[in-house]
């Protein structure tokens, strides 16, 4: 067995035997199940009543209360103005309430504001129907039906073209979720695993039989495999929770048809691989340059903050990809992974940006791992200041 295989096997199985691994793996799914149960037990959410968005509407059902619509920012355009309102929907949302409101969905025409902000249109349509039904007392059965969840179909456009549907965004977005999960789950383990040899002073005995690079490679692969195990442990109950709360999610997003498009999935995979290479190389380097987990802590925290920073600006990422902050995040190596994965999922990552970021991540990732392996060797020998002039060695 070669050095990488030997290290992989040792690291993988010894970690699987540790109770702490399973505790860490099971905490998230247990919490997910609890949250899922709470969501199903909680009463249905009602949208806020204070929303006011200027919009146009036509009402074929006659059920929409004009006063309610006006209070929420609506202007009735009459059935004859329908086409004109639809054409102007990029600047002013247009809602078409169907004749059979309790059966047919409300049609929404509007400019794409990103997956999160687009939810306001759905909520707006439902709020108009809900408040109109509440104000009416003519038909008890209809009122009850309208007070329930009203179906909404959105026809959103960005620069005149339809945006990528949510069902097509979700599969490549899973790469970003996976990366985020890996950062949280295995970041600390990655850091500690390279410090362990140093703290336990076993490195010299290992390095006489295994070269540093295969050793680091074996460690990284083992950590990825362990993370994979943890993701499976998390995913199974998460999927169960999804089934339990499916109706809640459908109410939030409307009926979603998942579509897997090859190109964004491949680009996402490349971005994920480059991100993981950069992530692991940097953590190994941090571990190599410090003497203990305590010393490495502050550097690790900075690194984690940088990697997860785009998550906190997710609304800007989704609503305005051309924003300067988003562009900065896209090209700075440590914020690029999440940013690029999200933009790739939403379909706004251009070909040039894709090539640039993938190249940047893969190159820096490879360099980081190679440098980290050398730093690991020197750092582990407690000779960080060693200066060695490289000259050819004479052999027999």
């Amino acid at each position: 067995m070669n050095g990488a295989g030997l290290t992989f096997r040792f690291e993988f199985f010894r970690t699987l035997r540790k109770p702490s691994f399973w505790i860490a793996a099971l905490v998230l799914p247990v919490l997910a199940v609890l949250v899922g149960l709470l969501m199903t037990a909680a009463p249905p959410t009602t949208a806020g009543t204070n929303m006011k968005i200027p919009f146009s509407y036509t009402d074929a059902s006659g059920q929409v209360n004009p006063d309610v619509a006006r209070q929420l920012g609506g202007t009735a355009v009459g059935l004859s103005g329908e086409e004109r309102a639809r054409r102007a929907s990029e600047t002013r949302p247009y809602l078409a309430f169907p004749k059979q409101l309790e059966q047919d969905p409300v049609q929404v025409y509007a400019a794409d504001r990103g997956p999160l902000d687009n939810l306001q249109y759905t909520n707006l349509a439902r709020e108009v129907v809900r408040q109109s039904a509440a104000a009416s007392s003519s038909d008890q059965a209809l009122t009850a039906a309208l007070l329930g969840q009203t179906a909404v179909v959105s026809h959103l456009t960005v620069d005149g073209a339809p945006p990528r549907p949510i069902g097509e965004i979700l599969p490549p977005l899973m790469y970003a979720v996976a990366l985020f999960a890996i950062l949280l789950i295995s970041g600390n383990r990655m850091l500690v695993s390279t410090l362990e040899e140093k703290e336990n002073r076993v490195i010299e005995m290992i390095l006489i039989g295994i070269r540093p690079l295969p050793m680091i490679t074996g460690k990284i692969l083992a950590l990825f495999a362990l993370t994979g195990v943890q993701i499976v442990v998390i995913a199974v109950p998460a999927l169960g929770t999804l089934l339990l709360t499916g109706s809640e999610l459908n109410a939030l997003f409307g009926a979603v048809t998942i579509t897997i498009a090859l190109t964004p999935m491949l680009i996402g995979l490349l971005l994920l691989l480059g991100s993981l290479a950069l992530f692991t190389g940097t953590l190994v380097a941090i571990g190599s340059l410090t003497n203990s987990a305590k010393d490495a802590g502050p550097y690790f925290a900075c690194f984690l903050v940088m990697m997860t920073l785009p998550v906190y600006a997710i609304s800007t990422l989704l609503a305005d990809p051309s924003d300067q902050l988003v562009q900065l995040f896209l090209y700075f190596p440590f914020t690029a992974p999440i940013t690029a994965l999200v933009l790739n999922a939403t379909g706004v990552l251009t070909a040039v940006q894709t090539v640039t970021v993938v190249t940047e991540l893969l190159t820096l990732g490879a360099v980081a791992i190679i440098v980290a392996a050398q730093l690991f060797k020197n750092g582990a020998l407690n000779a960080p200041s060693i200066r060695i002039r490289r000259t050819p060695r004479m052999t027999a």
Binding site: V202, T391, M394
Partner: protein
């Protein structure tokens, strides 16, 4: 009999300082050599360079005729000065892992590990975590890890450091056993008694250079020419010599420059010293070491090198 370990003109620069400056020595096949020098003399650096753990600035370092690299695993058993074990793992897991690092199959590593544990009284501890063993038991495991795979060369960097007497005995037994089986041993130590007892030869290191190397007898002879006199009555303090040691009616003298053995004998006769015994003093290895580090050697170290 060829040289198993050969170091020729080793130069290592570290932190802008020359740590080793042309170090050369050889250890013949099947021999045990002590590698001696004060703390910071460069012993560990030499071993790391020999094992490819650090790149030398210059020099030829050969083990069994070729530079060492990890592809030759199993050839060398190495016990480093800075040592430890995976503390959270079981004894057997750790030993099997290192056995595999030494090139053994999983089955052989397991068999040899269990055999060693039985031999050193740890047969019942195979599935115990390392950090639950006593310090002495951990030392035994450490030594076992070093000799798994019966390597032909043992490089032991201060192996007795921190050992209790029982483990010191175990170590000595293991080294002796490996020697009988034909292994070549390089032993870094500060324990001169141990070297005199178990080594065939010695390498003395000072200022990054070889002060002396060779058989024990030749290295002992490389010290200063001292004279030991056993006398009756009084002994003059002043003379063409320095008194190195005085023990009752015996003194060890260091003749001054250009004072021969015969001249010294004549001087003492002229002074009426009643000498009962008068002869060259054969220094112990410790004497040679102390001379090397406490006093400036009488001769240039380059000439002293064997």
């Amino acid at each position: 009999m060829g040289d198993v370990i050969r170091v020729d003109g080793l130069v290592v620069d570290r932190g802008g300082r020359r740590v080793l400056d042309g170090l050369s020595f050889a250890v013949p096949e099947g021999q045990t050599y002590g590698f001696l020098g004060a703390n910071g003399a460069g012993k560990t650096t030499t071993i790391r360079a020999l094992l490819g753990l650090l790149e030398p600035t210059e020099g030829e370092l050969l083990i069994h005729g070729a530079s060492y690299d990890p592809s030759r695993r199993g050839l060398v058993g190495y016990l480093p000065e800075e040592r430890g074990l995976f503390r959270k793992e079981t004894v057997l897991d750790v030993m099997v892992f290192f056995g595999r690092v030494h090139g053994l199959s999983a089955r052989d590593a397991r068999r040899q590990a269990l055999g060693y544990l039985e031999r050193c009284g740890l047969g019942g501890k195979a599935t115990t975590r390392i950090d639950r063993l006593s310090g002495g038991q951990q030392q035994k495991v450490q030594l076992g890890v070093t000799i798994l795979g019966t390597p032909r060369v043992l490089i032991l960097d201060e192996p007795t450091k921190g050992l209790d007497p029982l483990n010191r005995r175990l170590l000595v037994d293991v080294i002796d056993e490996r020697r009988r089986e034909g292994a070549t041993v390089l032993l870094v130590t500060h324990d001169m008694t141990e070297v005199e007892r178990s080594c065939d030869g010695v390498v003395l290191l000072k200022d990054g250079q070889t002060y002396a190397s060779g058989s024990l007898d030749s290295v002992r002879g490389s010290g200063e020419d001292l004279v030991r006199v056993v006398f009756r009555g009084s002994f003059p303090d002043d003379g063409p010599y320095d008194i190195v040691e005085r023990d009752g009616d015996a003194v060890v003298l260091r003749p001054r420059a250009h004072v021969s053995f015969e001249m010294l004998m004549r001087f003492l006769c002229d002074r009426g010293v009643q000498a009962e015994d008068f002869g060259r003093h054969r220094p112990s290895l410790e004497d040679v070491f102390l001379q090397l580090y406490e006093w400036e050697p009488a001769r240039d170290s380059g000439e002293m090198a064997a």
